[in-house]
Symmetry: C2
């Protein structure tokens, strides 16, 4: 029996995680979750799973939930997330929170001896060094859930690191991949949210369109697998069939392929080292690859530079991106302003090389607040 | 230091094996070889490598070679091949012989405790059960050298067999892949020898055009990896970039990719479990896949049927193919008659289910002789 915690259980990855868990109730037991502010969704989850602890977005509805589900311990807000993450039963914590809010719960879960199935890449972008140190110190596993990192993990797990020449992450290019930079001037939020291959949350869909997502993934891959940035390549691949490739020094490559269904990497992490049985199989048809275009997608270039410099800069980039995407989603800025805001934030920032967790959290909050205050129209 | 024997050293795979060996003389020592009837080629090989034993095609030139290379022990013909294969120093024997002549030397090398790097797929087609039994009995390794099987081996080596749903072998389709069956009526030998992706020996190039090669590979894969035939698929893949794929029950696939250079699978087998360093790396561009067309390529369908039935039938198919390809190469029959001859041979044959090695060898000789006598015009 594997005990499972899911932070962000009502989000896109969270719901797919619950779907995987519910299909194998002999193996998985859901112990703790965090939910959204959508009462109907929350109720449906609480009705399906008998959890022990549940974190609500705010304390407003606490009485209602406590009355309806008397056997569940309800907590709320940021402190509630920490309570779920620190819950005294070991197991796997699936971190499917969106953005920087995932960092502290990840650290707390590690410190309480839980393995981390990480869908929240921002955690590693902001504090990759601290997180991987903590993973080693507490002897827990860090299991990638991102489809690209799951693919790389599957290929790398039985290989000698010295035999690897480079790892290659594929990028679909997102909603606007076939538009020129000039054409990006007039794109709408609605169009930005139409990802060609994946059905995902709003933030990651926008991040895919700006190629920031691939930048975050490059930094995530650096921390997960320990390769220097010059051995981490990205490549454009329209079809999202090949998710990751490893090139070996002997001229061979291994690739991991699957249909675009997040339940596959989720299940790979939860079942590891075993494999689950899945009915949807890939039909091989056509795959195209094009070199990454760093002029078309400047944020990816920025992410490499920021990753190489390290320190607080990745946190600054991540915070600026998070704030800018929110502003774009609320209609306050245009699509191309996302890039401008991120680039300016990095240029204006004097880096600190070995930040503490507190430095990281404070910088994240400060940058996000500063950008939001400046650009929010209302 | 790894001691190496190369049977068929003057052929296409043989020469590429010597190329790999010569680049790492601290690791590899060439002990024994078999050569061709081309004296210039033979001399060039004997000048470059200080071998202990060398098998010549015939005894005609023995005096010349013994005088020129007094430190080498020369043997000749079929018995000479057995002497090289049975040479009392253990090591890796690369079997790069063409066709059925590879079988007995493989068995002798196994019995003398040598690991086998197998480029001669006919060995496993004819006597897969006996060879794999002998491999287990004598505790030696059977290392695939065919590019497709090397690819599958690389992917399968660290996986649990129970997790595998199927293995997939790619087929370029050979010289006539874009011709209809009607257009095959008038193709020439010269055109048949132009393989679009690989530079190989004559027999395998013709086998690629008839898709018999893929049929032999399916049977080879069955014996190498132990999967039933219904879990071994073939797929058309024009670019010869992906050589083999493994589909797992969880919906993921792993693929092995490389440029079309036989030195890569050769080196993979010789260096195993390490990897060598190679300068030529794959650029990912475009890959297409199409379902196999068994009506267009009936010999592949035949190979599956013959493989499933087992016994002596694979030997009959292999012998008929070998004789028919020779007749096509000598201009005695047309391209499409290769198929007719093979299909007729199988239809006329009453199968024997558990043949001995002697049954296999005699059947091979008898079928080849019978077909050659019937169709040879001169």
């Amino acid at each position: 029996m594997k005990l499972i915690y899911v932070l962000g259980a009502a989000g896109s990855i969270g719901e797919q995680t619950l779907d995987v868990i519910s299909q194998d109730q002999d193996l998985f037991q859901l112990v703790g979750i965090s939910l959204s502010s959508d009462r109907i969704k929350n109720k449906s989850i609480l009705d399906r799973f008998k959890v022990e602890i549940c974190c609500l977005r705010t304390g407003d509805d606490l009485a209602f939930y406590e009355q309806t589900y008397p056997n569940v311990r309800f907590v709320s807000g940021d402190s509630g997330l920490i309570e779920v993450a620190s819950y005294p039963k070991k197991g796997i914590l699936v971190n499917a929170l969106s953005g920087s809010s995932g960092l502290i719960p990840t650290m707390k879960a590690i410190e309480s001896g839980k393995d981390i199935a990480l869908a929240n890449k921002e955690t590693l972008v902001m504090a990759g060094d601290l997180v991987t140190q903590a993973v080693r110190k507490y002897g827990v596993k860090l299991l990638p859930v991102d489809s690209e990192h799951s693919a790389l993990w599957q290929v790398l797990k039985d290989e000698k690191i010295d035999d690897v020449k480079k790892i290659i992450i594929t990028a679909s290019g997102g909603s606007f991949r076939h538009l020129t930079r000039a054409e990006l001037q007039n794109v709408t939020l609605q169009d930005a949210l139409k990802h060609p291959n994946w059905s995902m949350g709003a933030k990651i869909t926008i991040d895919s369109a700006t190629m920031m997502n691939k930048g975050l993934e490059v930094i995530e891959a650096h921390h997960l697998f320990g390769f220097p940035y010059h051995n981490i390549e990205t490549i454009l691949h329209d079809e999202s069939v090949v998710h990751g490739l490893v090139a070996f020094k002997d001229g061979t490559m291994k690739a991991s392929l699957s249909v675009s269904d997040m339940r596959i990497p989720i299940a790979y992490a939860l079942y590891y080292p075993n494999r689950f049985t899945y009915s949807k199989h890939l039909e091989l048809t056509h795959m195209s690859f094009k070199p990454m275009d760093f002029n078309r997608f400047p944020l990816l270039k920025i992410a490499y530079e920021v990753g190489i410099q390290g320190g607080l800069l990745p946190t600054v980039m991540n915070a600026a991106n998070e704030a800018a995407v929110k502003l774009f989603l609320s209609g306050d800025i245009s699509f191309l302003e996302i890039e401008t805001i991120i680039i300016q934030s990095i240029q204006n920032y004097k880096n600190i090389l070995h930040p503490t967790l507190e430095d990281i959290i404070l910088t994240d909050r400060w940058i996000q607040k500063e950008i939001t205050d400046r650009y929010r129209k209302r």
